[in-house]
């Protein structure tokens, strides 16, 4: 029933595949119904956004991708020589723990099912016997998102004889003097959490204790202004909780769907040449039927962000989380200005905010005069 409904929402196009980035982005704004519904149905948001006149202006830069790949290759070169040193220091890997399994290809093939089966086999064997493999390079994991399997490929998984599995995430942003860009670190943490979750699910499927997968992910970044890698532990427990909640919600997407008009669809009605023929105005109307929750962070993670920003113009929420929290209960910018100027009567809830705003307005006027 739900599946049929989601198919109708998506229309004729094939469902879009999610990756760790997309799942991480989902967790970034759990309150957004629009994103939950569109992602649940596997709608190609990029094309929808372009069709309604708000094409997403992001995408990863080619330079960033090659830089990331080069750094990863460097860290893993020569049998993970550099990584091995870092993990020996950080996790206390013993000297005999050096085994390395390349799971990016199986016998020269890179079919997903084949790779998944092999990853499952090797990781399962390591968990059962406590031996047989320390580094698993690019294993393939699977996570069910709204009933659809999503393939995930962590950079590396490390396993300790005496301990547990650790997800290793290799990122090319620099850690300068022990500090890194908090936004990038938190994005990496969410991504690592997605992998931890998928690996835990795999372990549970195989009949092992999911807790064998550590909630401490290892983040490997270049140190300072050099190319020298450095490793840090990243506790992803909080991200795991958010993710689990969000994925649960997507699994219970029926509640969200029940509130939507039954004939709703985001079909772009592609013709034979692949050009969308759907009336943009109609599509905008369809989008408006699902409430969104725009925050400025969406710009970095969601293809529909520019559309939602346009829609949220004049709302206090569009100014960011801090503003929204400070002005709790006041919906629009016009209302805020009215309260500050005293031209708008403040009801019971707003009295406190109104007093603050009026003080702020008075201070501003004094400073400017």
């Amino acid at each position: 029933m739900t599946a049929g409904r989601l198919d109708r929402l998506r229309g004729t196009a094939a469902p879009r595949r999610h990756d760790a980035r997309a799942i991480a982005a989902l967790a970034a704004n759990p309150g957004c119904h629009r994103r939950a519904v569109l992602d649940g149905a596997g709608v190609d948001k990029q094309r929808v956004a372009a069709h309604v006149g708000f094409p997403a202006r992001f995408g990863r830069s080619q330079f960033a991708i090659s830089r990331g790949n080069a750094f990863e290759a460097q860290v893993k070169a020569n049998g993970c020589a550099e990584l091995l040193r870092l993990l020996r220091e950080l996790l206390g890997l013993s000297i005999p723990e050096v085994a390395y399994d390349d799971l990016e290809q199986v016998a020269g093939q890179d079919g997903l099912d084949l790779r998944y089966a092999r990853s499952r086999h090797l990781l399962g064997r390591a968990a059962t016997s406590g031996r047989g493999g320390t580094f698993f390079d690019h294993p393939l994991l699977r996570l069910d998102v709204a009933g659809q399997p999503v393939w995930l490929e962590p950079d590396l998984i490390a396993f300790q004889v005496a301990g547990r599995f650790h997800v290793v995430e290799i990122k090319s942003f620099a850690v300068v003097d022990g500090q890194a860009d908090p936004a990038k670190v938190s994005a990496a943490a969410v991504q690592a959490a997605v992998y931890v979750l998928a690996l835990r699910q795999l372990m549970a499927d195989l009949g092992h204790d999911p807790e064998i997968v550590s909630h401490d992910a290892v983040l490997v970044c270049p140190e300072n202004f050099s190319n020298q890698p450095v490793a840090h532990l990243l506790d992803v427990r909080k991200q795991l909780r958010v993710l689990r909640r969000q994925l649960d919600r997507m699994a219970r997407i029926d509640d969200l769907l029940a509130r939507l008009p039954p004939e709703l669809t985001f079909d772009l009605a592609f013709d034979s040449t692949g050009t969308p023929t759907r009336d943009p105005a109609e599509l905008v109307e369809a989008l408006n039927a699902v409430p969104a929750r725009y925050t400025p962070e969406c710009l970095a993670t969601c293809e529909l962000a520019y559309f939602c920003r346009h829609e949220a113009r004049g709302c206090t929420a569009a100014l960011g989380r801090t503003v929204r929290e400070e002005l709790g209960g006041v919906e629009t910018v016009a209302e805020v200005l009215g309260l500050a100027a005293g031209t708008r009567p403040a009801d019971g809830e707003q009295a406190e905010v109104a007093a603050l705003l009026q003080t702020a307005a008075r201070l501003r006027a004094e400073v400017l005069s």
Partner: protein, 293 residues
């Protein structure tokens, strides 16, 4: 003079190979690669001219050769109107495959293109010609094609290292066909064992050489990733002592892994011995049989 005659032959073979490669690239419509190969071909032809002049005893200085009629005509043939600058640069005298062979012989273990280039640069001078991952993949494919066309016609082939579990080509590693089969097998412990073995071989070679910055840097990079090597590396005052420090630390760790690794490799090598000649050198590829089902 004999050595020069030999090098002329090497260059001639190289020119033939390059012509075939250019033809293939043109047929495949790969213009960028064709252009790069043409430039290399022109370089090889220049080298051939120079070597020939040396044989004649004329020994004209580099660069002037281009002004004689023959070379002029050849330039027109290859359509190299802009080749004047290329002509002045000495072309690669040794084909890439021989440079790779040198570096791999020194390392004595299967290695990735990056390490091969680094080792060559440190011990034999910078690599002439391009040694990127993509270029070496082509090289391996060319070697395979050549082997299929005329098996064992060359004294050695650059071939694949094989994964111990499926005997398929290990990703991004090159080896030499004349090595014992065991050495080309890559089990789970082999990447580390090969890294340590390479460290020992490089250190021993470096110990016999006069000190050079390139070699020192290469050694240092190995030392950093071997437990116990850094301290003794710093303590040693002579370059030979530094090399010895790296070799010693690498040997100490090797002892831990060597036996288990050897068992894996031997077992895999026994299985690989039953393969056909081509698959034994270039690996077994799992075929997808979906189409025939």
């Amino acid at each position: 003079m004999l050595a020069v005659a030999e090098s002329v032959e090497v260059i001639e073979r190289r020119i033939d190979e390059l012509r075939a490669a250019v033809r293939r690239a043109v047929i495949a419509g790969d213009r960028i690669r064709a252009k790069a190969l043409r430039a290399e071909l022109r370089g090889a032809e220049q080298a051939w001219e120079r070597a020939l002049n040396a044989l004649e005893g004329r020994g004209e200085p580099t660069g002037q050769v281009a002004d004689d009629g023959d070379a002029e005509a050849r330039r027109d043939q290859t359509g190299g109107a802009s080749s004047r600058q290329l002509v002045r640069r000495p072309g690669p005298l040794l084909p890439l495959r021989e440079q790779v062979h040198h570096a791999l012989t020194l390392l004595a273990v299967p290695a990735a293109p990056k390490l091969i280039a680094e080792v060559h640069a440190a011990f034999f001078g910078p690599v002439t010609g391009e040694m990127s991952g993509a270029r070496l993949t082509h090289l391996r494919r060319d070697e395979e094609r050549s082997f299929r066309a005329a098996p064992y016609a060359r004294p050695y082939y650059l071939c694949a290292a094989l994964t111990a579990d499926h005997l398929s080509p290990a990703r991004g590693l090159l080896a030499i066909s004349t090595w014992a089969l065991e050495r080309r097998m890559i089990g789970p412990l082999s990447p580390r064992v090969d890294f340590l073995t390479a460290a020992v071989n490089i250190a021993e070679h470096a110990g016999r050489m006069v000190d050079s910055d390139g070699v020192g840097r290469l050694l240092w990079r190995f030392a950093m990733n071997i437990p116990g090597a850094v301290e003794t590396f710093h303590r040693a005052d002579r370059p030979a002592g530094k090399a010895e420090a790296v070799a010693e630390a690498a040997r100490a760790e090797l002892v831990v892994h060597a036996e288990a690794d050897r068992a894996h490799r031997r077992e895999a090598a026994e299985r690989a011995a039953a393969l056909t000649d081509v698959t034994r050198l270039f690996g077994n590829r799992l075929r997808v049989i979906r189409e025939t089902a």
